[in-house]
Symmetry: C2
Subunit: 457 residues, 2 copies
């Protein structure tokens, strides 16, 4: 690949692309590449490039209206690019990657490697094209920071015994004004459906464990993050698969999970026990239904005419909720007389409408990303050791949230590495590989995305 | 359709076909039709026809080896028949029905009308072919007995207020020698996965209610069946759809469910809470694992080395199981040292292996079918009334179980009605229609499948 000015193509300019696009344009003059940003919403793509007019003009960068379903447009854009960053929905990545291979264009995404994607590895190899996936926050920074620590422990002759890792997209203390300690910086629907994808499986003290969805928010691990205080973690779906991914086949504990503020899980467990987050039945609700009446639908023995007190007492009895948890449900307005105005849909859809109001990130709010790892190992001298490693990162503002920075920066930095010709890999490449994580973690640290470490609990 | 001797074709000679096939052959001479029975297992099909050699010979009836995936064989058999009874897996019915329409052959099945099946209605109508589905026990006898009562209440000027209905395939008291009061007369896998298909939705006291899967076995209704004592019912998935099916759009209570012996639901709830019935994660289990170690995998804090006492204490704490429930789990051997010999699979698959031993129907065992309806209505004089209606039916033996009789007899009787030319319907026909249920309920009563009624609780 020895064309003149390198061309980086970004497909998708949504919430997670803000910092990615800004970083790419900011360094485009110095490093000598152009950036094209395509989105179905042209104005959105243009807005993400604002403030860099002279850089844009000097490099011939531009926004354009993208119809991702239009194969001709997609192929024409991709064949004119040297590096593609796909921020399209995950289901489109294999399609776009196939175009990239055909065009001889390197491609990176923040999404998990699907089976379809994995099948493209050989073709990419043959064409000298590199495909890098799982290069956002989680998956992404988690892979890189974990493997850096694990490789170092091994390099020094240590034997891994245990790996625990939790990540959360949360709200910074200064913007935390609700008893759930949570606001949306991510797809609200995914948050409402959290845990419903299936049982969690992990390894603890030498035995495989399975936790069914309805117990996920009951079995919570307290996690201390120095400087930020305590959080609670609940287990993600498949931790066992990470034994192969990280080469941890002799450990006796292996758990990955999601972090939330203290008390969130007890509150969400109450909702989970009631079934208010279910998405498996779409119901016709009465036109004038109130939130109290909606809640009553999950409390056998209560009905549309039950009082708020009776419904609340039923919830307390069914879920075992304590006073603080009941306070969180009251704060949401679940026993109140506000009308719902939602005539047909699943409980999850109805609840999401409420949560989008209550947990909205205000324009002045600052979000907080927290990632926390704990490695236990026996060192070369036979000593039991603990290494704790954590990242906390605040957003700058409503546009450049912590989420947008931690998802976008690994992608931007990788795209620039490729444009500069620093990497000449081909085929499917993973961020767990030292040749990827070493330069990227160093570059992330310069952008303020840096881990702290100690030997603590 | 005015051929000579009518020809009835049965596809599938499994467990539920025994009584169907016997009834068809038994009346074949008197009513003048032949019967062909096809199954992948020719010996099985032949065994189901034993004892009627002269009837078989006189009518030219026969068993044959069927490869249901062989379209040429299927089409050739179907085009030579006047009435088809399909006992194939439900997923094959639409395919077989399409063949039947093409051949001008009437067709009946015990399965729910799928969307694919519904789409065949017009073509069947145009060809003068009748397709009758949902003609077994549940669905089947439930539809017919419920609609007979509802239509009678309406004919007499009554207004339906409430409909509750529960059905179970159980074991007769004289063969009930385990603390779960249950043995398999039905697909064990479906029993192990019970309730995991999704939330139950129903109407109670004027309000819609939703019960998530993990609470299904906690919210149990006690049902008294005169002569058989008490049972417990848990709600089936979608009761709300029956408002349209039975024309019950003004009732304030509408629940359908499954019956089990008293105590079963508390026991199954403990298993459900633990997640031991989950089918959403396939795990690699240690080669020498015991049942105690398997159970420990569902008890956070316990591991492969925990004692039986510790694992049992953990189960008690997590599930709130009382002494009787713990006794049921102990009876299954879940805390014992027997080896599992199951290296890879979901918890549901491991557990099914155990239950197939523990809940096996012995050759000398007698099963019991129980169906129970309760109708509440206001009669023409404005009086609040209750009608309770129930069916209990014991199997004859291991072959002609209550399950085989109640699934097979409605189909056999309908096939004979059609062969005799008593019905000249076309298109999709439902057992909820009076023209279907009236003659079939009368014929079922002659076979000993008869409902009792009272005005009781």
């Amino acid at each position: 690949m020895a064309k003149g000015v390198k061309r980086i193509l970004v497909l998708g300019a949504g919430r997670s692309s803000s910092t990615l696009i800004r970083n790419l344009i900011r360094f485009s003059v110095e490093e000598g590449y152009s950036v094209r940003v395509g989105d179905l919403d042209l104005a959105l793509a243009q807005s993400k490039m604002e403030g860099f007019e002279s850089a844009i003009a000097s490099q011939g960068s531009a926004a354009f209206k993208l119809d991702a379903g239009d194969a001709a447009q997609r192929k024409s854009e991709i064949s004119a690019a040297d590096v593609l960053v796909s921020m399209l929905p995950a289901s489109m990545h294999a399609l776009v990657m196939a175009d990239a291979i055909e065009a001889g264009c390197h491609a990176i995404t923040p999404s998990y490697v699907s089976d379809e994607m994995a099948a493209l590895g050989d073709a990419a190899q043959a064409k000298g094209v590199m495909l890098i996936n799982e290069l956002g926050l989680d998956p992404g920074i988690d892979h890189m920071s974990a493997m850096a620590a694990i490789d170092q422990i091994r390099d020094e002759g240590g034997q891994m015994q245990s790996f625990e890792s939790y990540t959360g997209g949360l709200v910074a203390r200064e913007s935390d004004d609700n008893p759930w300690h949570y606001k949306f910086t991510w797809n609200p629907r995914n948050v409402v459906l959290a845990g419903q994808g299936g049982s969690a499986t992990y390894l603890k003290n030498g035995g495989v464990e399975l936790l069914p969805p309805h117990r996920l928010f009951k079995e919570v691990t307290r996690v201390e993050v120095p400087g930020e205080g305590y959080f609670e973690g609940y287990a993600n779906r498949d931790s066992l698969g990470y034994a192969d991914i990280y080469g941890l086949n002799a450990v006796d504990t292996l758990v990955r999970g999601t972090l939330r503020g203290v008390g969130f899980c007890a509150g969400w467990d109450a909702i989970f026990q009631l079934g208010m987050n279910r998405d498996d039945a779409r119901l016709r609700w009465p036109a004038d239904m109130t939130w109290r009446q909606f809640t009553a639908a999950f409390v056998p023995g209560c009905g549309p005419n039950s009082s708020a007190e009776d419904v609340a007492a039923g919830v307390e009895r069914l879920t075992g909720a304590d006073a603080e948890t009941m306070g969180r449900l009251h704060w949401l307005g679940l026993f109140g007389e506000d009308p719902i105005n939602f005539n047909f849909g699943s409980p999850a859809e109805v609840l999401q409408q409420l949560l989008e109001q209550k947990w909205a990130l205000a324009p002045s709010d600052i979000d907080l990303i927290v990632m926390w790892h704990r490695f236990r190992y026996v060192d070369a001298s036979g000593q039991n050791c603990t290494l704790r490693s954590w990242l906390t990162l605040r957003g700058e503002d409503y546009l450049h949230t912590g989420m947008s920075k931690t998802v976008g920066l690994p992608l931007a930095l990788a795209a620039r590495h490729i444009a500069r010709g620093d990497w000449n890999f081909s085929g499917l490449v993973m961020p767990t590989e030292r040749r990827v994580y070493e330069p990227l973690l160093a570059a992330l640290a310069l952008e303020g995305v840096a881990f702290s470490e100690d030997g603590g609990a």
